[in-house]
């Protein structure tokens, strides 16, 4: 009875906030793995936390810590993290006209521009949706993930000393699974599946011969080759 009197926007707003908290809780579970992984990989609790506050982009954080933990060069660690973070620039490109903020708000919006906030905002775009729904989805998801990801990182990094070997709990396997869950929705056609398989094979083949971190970095060449061939294919199809 009462729900029919609630304005549509109130209902939508509640749904957006509930979803944002749900996404934050899911990433928090993964954030615990990150905190534990960072400390067992040789970082201090403070260093792990700075990554979650300032870097704040999960794939890059795991990549940086992974290279350090494996004994790779710091330059490889920074380069891999940065290359993985490049996608956030393209999220910003599509989000900035929606948000239309400047100054300090833009500085904050930039920091919250990650997979989750962009995906939730894009999910609220399209026919029948308003720009305020899109904006709310971005801000609510971004803030929810930021707060919960950081709390989880702290719990994981402090807990790492208490639980002993994180391998006992399969936390090392959770890292690969989380990264796989990030790439899974991107495997939409034959070319993207090909890029994934070839990149995994190249990285494994080079692991015994190159410093840790370098094999992963070199697979960016696979992405460039695939990108060039995709553009050529599109041009050929357009021309014929």
């Amino acid at each position: 009875m009462t729900s029919s009197h609630v304005p549509a926007w109130e209902q939508e707003r509640r749904a957006i906030v509930v979803n944002a908290i749900g996404v934050g809780l899911a990433t928090a579970a993964y954030g615990i793995s990150f905190g534990a992984f960072a400390v067992s990989g040789g970082l201090s609790v403070l260093q792990a936390q700075i990554l979650s506050v300032v870097m704040f982009t999960g794939g890059s954080q795991f990549a940086l810590v992974g290279v350090i933990a494996a004994g790779g060069a710091m330059s490889s660690a920074v380069a891999t993290a940065s290359l993985l973070g490049l996608r956030n620039a393209f999220y910003g490109l599509s989000m900035s006209p929606v948000l239309s903020v400047t100054g300090a708000r833009r500085a904050v919006a930039a920091q919250l521009t990650i997979d989750e906030s962009t995906a939730m905002a894009v999910g609220r775009s399209g026919p029948g949706e308003t720009v305020r729904a899109e904006r709310l989805a971005f801000w609510a998801t971004g803030l929810s993930v930021f707060v919960l990801w950081n709390l989880a990182t702290l719990a994981g990094s402090l807990g790492a000393g208490l639980i002993g070997d994180p391998r006992t709990y399969g936390l090392d396997a959770a890292i690969g699974a989380g990264l796989l869950a990030l790439v899974w929705p991107r495997l939409v056609d034959r070319r993207s599946v090909g890029v994934a398989v070839v990149s995994a094979a190249v990285a494994l083949a080079l692991t015994p011969v190159l410093q840790p971190g370098v094999p992963v970095l070199l697979t960016s060449v696979v992405a460039v080759v695939a990108g060039v061939s995709a553009v050529r294919d599109r041009a050929r199809r357009g021309a014929s």
Binding site: T57, G66, A81, A89, G92, T113, A181, V202, T207, V224
Partner: protein, 105 residues
């Protein structure tokens, strides 16, 4: 400053600068077919390579251990459209169980 501090600070600042650039750089710099296309494939290549290395590598050595069981369980969960949280927990639980039962290192 220790090397790890350098990597943490430099990496963090670069990742933030990249995000800010996306909001600030004029569209014509990023909005080009080749740039957009390569940027679609870059996370696929790097994340897939990371998954492989996180599953099989120990330093510069390749090994098969309980992480593989965890990854295979994650693939099944993803194929069944399980949410992110379930995928991660299933992988961790499977690897932990394999180790507890002594089936894998």
């Amino acid at each position: 400053m220790t090397p790890i501090w350098t990597a943490v600070i430099l990496g963090s600042l670069l990742c933030y600068a990249i995000k800010l650039a996306g909001h600030s750089v004029p569209h014509r710099f990023l909005d080009q077919p080749l740039v957009m296309s390569v940027s679609d494939y870059l996370p696929i290549a790097l994340l897939s390579a990371l998954v492989a290395v996180q599953t099989f590598a120990v330093g510069m050595h390749l090994v098969v251990d309980a992480r593989l069981a965890g990854l295979l369980a994650a693939i099944v969960a993803l194929a069944l459209r399980a949410p992110f949280l379930v995928v991660v927990l299933v992988a961790a639980g499977t690897a932990a169980a394999f180790r507890a039962l002594g089936w894998a290192a």
